[in-house]
């Protein structure tokens, strides 16, 4: 409860962070209830294609005659779903590897860190594209796993260095004297101490995953089926939206949807940073 009170106090002082939090909540709500509120058809209806904005179609219609607003709403869930799933995977793997490696130390730590270094150096996005092109999956779990293939490395490194410094502290000595098993040492003793860092990294991992996911659809590497913002952009581009002004809304709505979400996540992550890192609050 104290956590929420602190969060609210900081958000109230930091307007961008507050707006970020509200925007994230709205997106989550749309992702959950959106598919019940509206629907999108896949039949072409030329009479309704590229209509200008009206009361019935606030953002106009696309080349099939679907409401762009409905598509945006329907498209929220798949994007958020995969983004959050990928971030959960990144955080789980990164924290586990980092904590165990840092706490155990020794040869295992050296080996794991060299592997981490390799993953940190390989450019993530091209690797994701290569894997996605070979696997060609529509399952959100598989897509999230592909997107998190290199993301865990940075977190693992940071968490490991924290675990290294925690290793010599008194409460860890005390726990060790009690003969607690490794699982307890990692999950109950070390994890709560790196929690703040993990929370911030989680938000940034969501932005990374959404960036890469939309990119995959945009390039046509992920299978084009269903409706999401990346697919909307892909279809808009392939319908020549860059060369005409009549479909500007169709092209720019998904872009704005992505930008708002990304910016909101980054701004909110700064409030989290302040919440956990009291030294920042003085400034």
């Amino acid at each position: 409860m104290k956590f929420l009170r602190d969060l609210w106090r900081i958000c109230r002082a930091d307007k961008p962070a507050l707006i970020g939090a509200i925007v994230i909540l709205i997106y989550l709500a749309v992702a959950i209830i959106g598919p019940f509120a509206t629907h999108v058809g896949y039949q072409k209806n030329p009479a309704l294609a590229y209509l200008p904005p009206s009361l019935k179609y606030p953002l106009g219609t696309d080349f099939l005659g679907n409401s762009v607003l409905s598509e945006l709403i329907i498209g929220t869930r798949p994007i958020m779903e995969v983004g959050i799933l990928a971030a959960v995977m990144v955080v789980t793997v990164g924290v586990t590897v980092g904590l165990v490696s840092g706490y155990r130390g020794g040869v295992m730590d050296q080996v794991v860190m060299r592997i981490t270094d390799v993953f940190l150096t390989i450019p993530g996005l091209p690797l994701v594209i290569v894997i996605a092109s070979i696997v060609r999956t529509t399952s959100p779990f598989a897509l999230a796993a592909i997107l998190s293939v290199t993301g865990w490395a940075g977190l693992a490194r940071a968490v490991r260095s924290q675990a290294l410094s925690l290793r010599t502290s008194d409460f860890i000595d005390a726990a060790r004297v009690q003969g607690l098993p490794l699982r307890n040492m990692v999950a109950r003793q070390l994890l709560p101490n790196v929690g703040p860092y993990v929370a911030i990294h989680f938000l940034l991992a969501v932005t990374d995953a959404i960036y890469a996911e939309v990119g995959l659809y945009l390039l046509g590497v992920a299978p084009i089926s269903g409706t999401n913002w990346g697919i909307m952009l892909n279809l808009a581009l392939s319908q020549g939206a860059l060369y005409t002004t009549q479909s500007a809304l169709y092209l720019f709505s998904p872009m704005l949807a992505i930008v708002f979400l990304q910016v909101a996540l980054v701004y909110f992550s700064r409030a989290m940073d302040r919440l956990f890192n009291p030294r920042l609050r003085v400034q």
């Binding site: 150096t121 070979i134 990119g215 581009l237 996540l265």
Partner: protein
């Protein structure tokens, strides 16, 4: 120093080896196996004997498809060492090496220019924001910068194409140079190359300079309050000297560290930017070959992007001792007064290495 460089070099080699191995097993073992896909495609076309199909597959991937896996792996490695990555499936006359070697300079040109420009702008803006945190301009700049740093680069690229290139026809939006110019060291060709590179470079810069500025701002504002800066001011050193030697050089350290990390992002981003600007670099060919299922070219592009990132990382590592001499001889900081040469003494005053490591 030598061990530092040896470690970085070893890491670079291991990374390249890992990627070569990864590409082999992805082509060979993943579901939808690319080599058997090609075999199936060739046998569907008909008119070819099994041996002919095997020979074609071997030509494309440089590997005998029927041999045992470890044997295939070894011959793949041997080929890779000799720069033989097979030939393009769609265009059998072209070796993968010639495709990627032709693409690399364009990617290096655009990514290199973008990195230099965004780094320079970021340093200047970040320093200004940190120096005058209360001014209205700094507040606006912080807002703009942190907003832009969160926008995906492909969106910037698409907006630029829409606004500047396609609707207004102000700047060329596709290709590396105008077809009416002849490649060579002449003015019209070079200016055409720069004109065509302008929008792609701009798309990188708009996204990247924000995070440089934020890093620089954070770095400068922690150093502003440091004891050794106050000590320098108290000794009556000129403002310029304090800013340049005490604040500037130390604030650059996290920036140089970040250079290595951002290289992966920059080269990765080429996938989008080169595709949308139809710019024939590695990212463009990577996406093209992915969409056409030309796996040898795809793997070659991926490998070369990785090598480019690894080599640029090595260059950053080599340059790091120039920025932070403490890395060369970690013990020297404690031997103040016992400096060997005048050059070292000068380095000591320029870089306040005499302070105990934090």
């Amino acid at each position: 120093m030598a061990s530092f460089l040896a470690k970085r070099l070893a890491l670079a080699l291991v990374t390249i080896y890992a990627v070569v191995t990864l590409t082999f097993f992805m082509v060979r073992l993943m579901p939808g196996n690319a080599m058997s896909y090609l075999e199936a495609q060739l046998s569907q076309q008909g008119g070819l004997t099994t041996q002919q199909i095997a020979a074609k597959v071997q030509e494309a991937y440089g590997v005998q498809p029927t041999g045992p896996l470890w044997h295939q792996y070894l011959s793949y490695l041997g080929n890779a060492v000799h720069g033989n990555f097979g030939t393009s499936i769609l265009d059998p006359g072209k070796t993968v090496l010639s495709v990627v070697a032709g693409a690399l300079p364009w990617t290096l040109l655009v990514v290199g220019l973008a990195l230099l420009i965004s780094f320079a702008i970021g340093v200047i803006i970040g320093t200004l924001i940190a120096a005058f945190p209360q001014s209205m301009l700094a507040k606006i700049a912080t807002g703009v910068v942190s907003f832009l740093a969160a926008v995906p680069n492909y969106i910037i690229a698409l907006v630029l194409i829409y606004l500047v290139a396609d609707q207004e026809h102000l700047l060329p939006a596709s290709g590396p140079y105008s077809l009416t110019t002849t490649p060579g060291w002449n003015v019209s060709f070079i200016s055409s190359v720069l004109q065509h590179a302008l929008l792609p470079v701009l798309s990188y810069v708009i996204v990247a300079f924000g995070s440089w500025a934020l890093t620089m701002k954070g770095s400068v504002s922690t150093i502003l309050g440091a004891d050794y800066v106050r000590a320098g001011e108290a000794r009556g050193l000129s403002r310029y000297r304090v800013t340049r030697s005490y604040i500037g050089r130390n604030a650059m350290l996290p920036m140089v560290t970040n250079l290595g990390l951002s290289l992966g992002y920059m080269f990765g981003g080429s996938v989008f930017i080169e595709t949308f600007f139809v710019y024939p670099g590695l990212g463009y060919y990577l996406v093209q070959s992915v969409n056409q299922r030309d796996y040898p070219v795809m793997m070659g592009c991926f490998l070369l992007i990785t090598i480019a990132v690894v080599v640029s990382n090595l260059i950053v590592d080599l340059a790091y001792p120039l920025v932070d001499p403490r890395i060369m001889s970690p013990g020297r900081a404690r031997q103040t007064g016992l400096t060997v040469s005048g050059r070292a003494a000068e380095a000591q005053t320029a870089d306040p290495a005499g302070r105990p490591a934090a």
